[in-house]
């Protein structure tokens, strides 16, 4: 006789349980819900909508609400009633007139052809036949083409709602036929407030610092925040405070960063050793640790530079601690510390023994000599420290206050975009217009002037190559040479060479000569060692022969470089 655990689940994950059912429930997308409601009210519906934006911010939810609002038999102020037969059918997934398709699983041309066949027939019980295609970016090319045919001459009763997280994969021809809405990330305060409401409803005690931490970790996505919340509740039960939360999410205790900055100031190497051991004992992710440490010192620097705490992204409890910390360091110290951490944060990914790398990074932090002049590094460093933690997120709390105008301008640009048939992905084209090209040569000044925006765009893009930031560029007409000052950066650039090359072509709109050059500070040391090894066998001489051979057909830019830096190793991009 089986006595299986009774798992008939009463538990519904929070994201599903709290899925908005009306426009007014949707958080932080007022610019979209108001426009949609107006379109319903004035009976000015577009035949195809495209909802784009990151995951978990309400795209699919809005699509479903819109579908119900349109077909609802007794709408209230353009909201679905959620009670009439049409609403109920849609809610239960039984509606013949609202069809939801998972674009990722039904991405073939045959799937779209079937859709086209069925779409011909008018709706059975409602005004519109509505197709919601989620993950629309996954359609194959021929499927998109088949879809285009319907969009070009849509039957009057037909309405499409597409949703995607990857708008750049949707062809321009489709984009230009849709009214597009960009959903935005949800700001931290809105997430905190919503989670607080959920917790109250669940009778769970959770403090503000925990709510803030969850909101911050969820990166503007409500669904992420709700998943994290579920996870924390599963770990901690009904009483959640910051200590239990950080334990359950394996967060690194912020106090721990303060211990490190103190040990840095006090040059307490022994303390650093203890910290390193503790980090290993607790099993923290070392890469996260270094990232957190970078953010910590960036916060200190921000306070040092601005004199107040308004710009730092930490909970109020820590603001005073940060002010005290800022007193301990000079700006130059902080820049050097950030430089040091930044290099380690990148190299630890490739370290064969990350624990050792981490430990050395801490020890060196305490052993830093702040007497050394670092003027030369500062310019470089400013760039590093100016990167906000997550550049693509802009939390904008003032939006709600200025709603009417911002909604208006937002929508008008959307429509303009659609009219001009220039979708977002065509940045390449617009960039080409910005950069004047004479005789197919982009001169050094243009390259130089646009380099920072290039780095800004690609160093933290999807396939990020932050290593670009570490390299010093030198510009010649139609040529860019990236200088690496250590082997690690050099190897990394080489590994990413094709990607960077591709980015350069994308950005500057034409083929530009691109080379990577290593100029080590230790050059002298290496030379002495190599001399000592001279009697070791053929490797050394063959290496030299190769260099000689390379020398014979050098690019003028390379010759110039060699003069400048007395350099040795060149790798060309072909």
């Amino acid at each position: 006789m089986s006595k299986n655990i009774d798992t008939q689940k009463e538990f519904i994950v929070t994201a599903l349980k709290w899925r908005p059912q009306k426009f007014s429930d949707i958080i932080c997308q007022e610019h979209i819900s108001i426009t949609l409601k107006n379109a319903i009210k004035n009976n000015r519906l577009h035949h195809a909508y495209l909802f784009s934006g990151p995951r978990g911010i309400g795209k699919t939810t809005t699509a479903r609400i819109l579908a119900r609002a349109i077909n609802c038999l007794s709408p209230i102020d353009s909201e679905p009633c959620n009670e009439c037969q049409n609403c109920k059918n849609i809610l239960e997934g039984r509606s013949l007139d609202v069809i939801e398709i998972d674009g990722a699983s039904n991405n073939s041309v045959d799937d779209i052809r079937t859709l086209r066949e069925n779409a011909k027939y008018p709706p059975s019980q409602a005004n519109y036949k509505i197709y919601i295609i989620d993950e629309v970016h996954m359609l194959s090319n021929s499927a998109f083409n088949a879809l285009l045919k319907i969009l070009e001459e849509p039957p009057i009763h037909l309405l499409f709602i597409f949703a995607t997280t990857e708008i750049h994969k949707v062809p321009a021809t489709i984009l230009s036929r849709c009214q597009r809405f960009d959903f935005r990330r949800i700001d931290i305060n809105s997430i905190v407030n919503h989670l607080r409401k959920i917790a109250q409803n669940d009778k769970i005690n959770i403090d503000d610092e925990s709510l803030f931490t969850i909101a911050k970790k969820s990166d503007g996505s409500m669904r992420d925040a709700q998943s994290l919340y579920d996870q924390v509740v599963a770990f901690c039960g009904n009483e959640i405070n910051y200590a239990s939360l950080s334990d359950s999410l394996n967060l690194i205790d912020p106090d721990f960063y303060f211990t490190i900055s103190s040990a840095t100031k006090e040059k307490n190497i022994k303390k650093m050793l203890e910290i390193s051991r503790e980090v290993n004992r607790r099993g923290y992710n070392l890469h996260d640790c270094l990232n957190g440490l970078l953010e910590h010192f960036r916060n200190i620097l921000t306070i040092k530079a601005t004199g107040n705490t308004s710009l730092i992204d930490a909970s109020m409890d820590f603001h005073n601690k940060y002010i005290a910390e800022a007193e301990k360091f000079t700006k130059e110290d902080l820049l050097r510390i950030l430089q040091h951490l930044n290099i380690n944060e990148q190299s630890i990914r490739y370290a064969s023994q990350p624990r050792l790398r981490f430990e050395i990074a801490l020890i060196q932090l305490a052993a830093m000599d702040n007497a050394v002049s670092i003027q030369s590094l500062i310019e470089e460093l400013k760039k590093i420290t100016e990167i906000p933690n997550k550049p693509e997120i802009k939390y904008n709390n003032s939006d709600t206050k200025t709603l009417p105008t911002s909604v208006k301008s937002h929508i008008s640009t959307q429509i303009q975009d659609a009219d001009k048939k220039i979708p977002d992905i065509s940045q390449k084209e617009s960039k080409e217009n910005e950069i004047t090209i004479k005789n197919n040569i982009i001169n050094a000044d243009i390259l130089k002037n646009n380099w920072d925006s290039f780095v800004e765009k690609y160093a933290y893009s999807k396939y990020k190559v932050p290593i670009i930031k570490q390299a010093k560029p030198i510009f010649f007409d139609n040529t860019i040479i990236l200088i690496a000052d250590n082997n690690f950066i050099f190897e990394n650039l080489i590994t990413n060479k094709n990607l960077i090359k591709q980015y350069i072509v994308d950005f500057f709109g034409q083929n530009i000569d691109f080379k990577i050059q290593l100029i080590e500070e230790e050059t002298k040391l290496n030379t002495t060692i190599q001399q000592e090894n001279h009697n070791l066998g053929p490797e050394n001489s063959s290496h030299k022969a190769l260099t000689d051979k390379e020398n014979s057909n050098l690019h003028p830019a390379e010759v110039k470089l060699i003069e400048l830096f007395n350099a040795q190793k060149l790798i060309s991009n072909d």
Binding site: K9, D102, D134, S352, P354, L356, L536
Partner: protein, 383 residues
């Protein structure tokens, strides 16, 4: 019983049992953390408990009985409710409707059987199949098909997806809806050591549980139990395995004890005041003669740890935070001879050399340069 077979992760085990008892099992978990720490073992154990016919309860725990029919078939990967999905090689046909297994040849199927048998004996075994293995759309289609059928057995349907980061873009996207709105009484557990490679849209639909690296002691116990080696050797291996059983396995059968001795002799030789060169080169030649790059890597890791211990002892002579505890006296003597040197530079230089090993360099040259560098750093204050 069942949970006992799992090393470490006591907090996670506690949480999962709590979730079962409070009926707060979500639709989907994502277990992540470095390779070789038992994520799959925990997932499969959870699945077993959820399906056990007479689970063993205490006030705060629930475990599998490991005796009932359900538990036994779970252990043999034969349980109809428990699907273990892992990356498979490409099949002969590209018929998308066919099941993922149907497309494989007999040899590949035999290999899968063999790997599953190994995994069944040792939950820490890593499934290794030849060929370009991915989780293709056919596997996702099969999951969806399974889930669409009505469940006939009691218990919870569990789908454990190993190396979820190996899903193709097509299969990952096709999987999104299944994750968000799964069928009743179903748990999906994604496993990954490369969480960043998983679509954010997938991650966002899971409760994510981070798995720590294991304690050195867990690794030692594992090595002794499953691989029958001496505690002394297990300790060396554990110290360089960064808390990962997978890493530890790379050092098995490598005779680490002898290698360590060889490395330390090499170092001793490099640090002689006079006439060291001929002997050094001879020793290096001896070390590289098999052209075994893996062996050189191990040797350099041992060397690196030795210097790291030297740093630790130089900072705190009384510390017990050392890997080479058997070397402490030698290290102390070394430190008294070479005080005030930049040992951190040496550790970093060794790391650089380790990274160079697989770059088609001449091993002899690499090692000679390295040891001359070490010598240079150490003697720079003396000469």
């Amino acid at each position: 019983m069942g949970w006992d077979r799992i090393y470490g992760h006591s907090k996670i085990k506690e949480i999962l049992q709590g979730a079962i008892m409070q009926k707060r099992i979500p639709n989907a978990y994502l277990f992540w953390g470095i390779e070789g720490i038992g994520k799959e073992a925990v997932a499969l154990q959870l699945a077993k408990v959820l399906n056990c016919e007479s689970p063993i309860f205490t006030k705060n725990t629930v475990d599998s009985c490991d005796l009932c029919k359900s538990c036994r078939s779970a252990d043999n990967f034969q349980h109809p409710n428990i699907k273990f999905i892992f990356p498979l090689p490409a099949g002969k046909t590209e018929d998308k409707e066919a099941s993922p297994i149907a497309k494989l040849n007999d040899e590949q199927i035999a290999q899968i059987r063999e790997q599953l048998a190994l995994k069944s004996n040792n939950p820490y075994h890593q499934i290794k199949l030849s060929g370009n293995c991915q989780i293709r759309i056919s596997s996702v289609r099969e999951i969806k098909k399974d889930l669409s059928l009505t469940q006939t057995l009691g218990g919870v349907r569990c789908i454990v997806i190993s190396k979820a980061d190996e899903m193709t873009a097509e299969s990952a996207n096709a999987f999104l809806k299944t994750l968000e709105e799964p069928s009743q009484n179903t748990l999906i557990i994604l496993i990954s050591s490369r969480r960043d490679e998983i679509l954010q849209t997938i991650r966002s639909r899971c409760q994510q549980i981070y798995f720590h690296q294991l304690d050195d002691n867990d690794i030692i116990n594992y090595l002794i139990k499953y691989h029958n080696i001496s505690e002394k050797e297990a300790a060396i291996i554990a110290s360089i395995s960064q808390g990962s059983i997978t890493k530890a396995m790379e050092f098995l059968d490598k005779d680490m004890l002898n290698l360590k001795e060889e490395v330390i002799n090499l170092l001793r030789n490099a640090l002689k005041k006079k006439i060291y060169r001929m002997e050094l080169i001879e020793r290096i030649n001896n070390l590289v003669k098999e052209k075994d790059r893996g062996k050189i890597e191990n040797a350099l890791i041992i060397l690196q740890l030795w210097f790291q211990d030297a740093i630790r002892i130089s900072i705190d002579p009384n510390t017990d935070y050392v890997v080479n505890y058997d070397q402490k006296d030698i290290i102390m003597k070394f430190l008294s001879n070479f005080s005030n040197t930049e040992l951190d530079l040496i550790v970093l230089k060794i790391e650089e050399a380790i990274n160079d090993i697989y770059k088609n360099v001449n091993l002899q040259l690499l090692l000679t340069t390295l040891f001359l560098y070490i010598r240079k750093i150490l003697f720079s204050n003396k000469l």
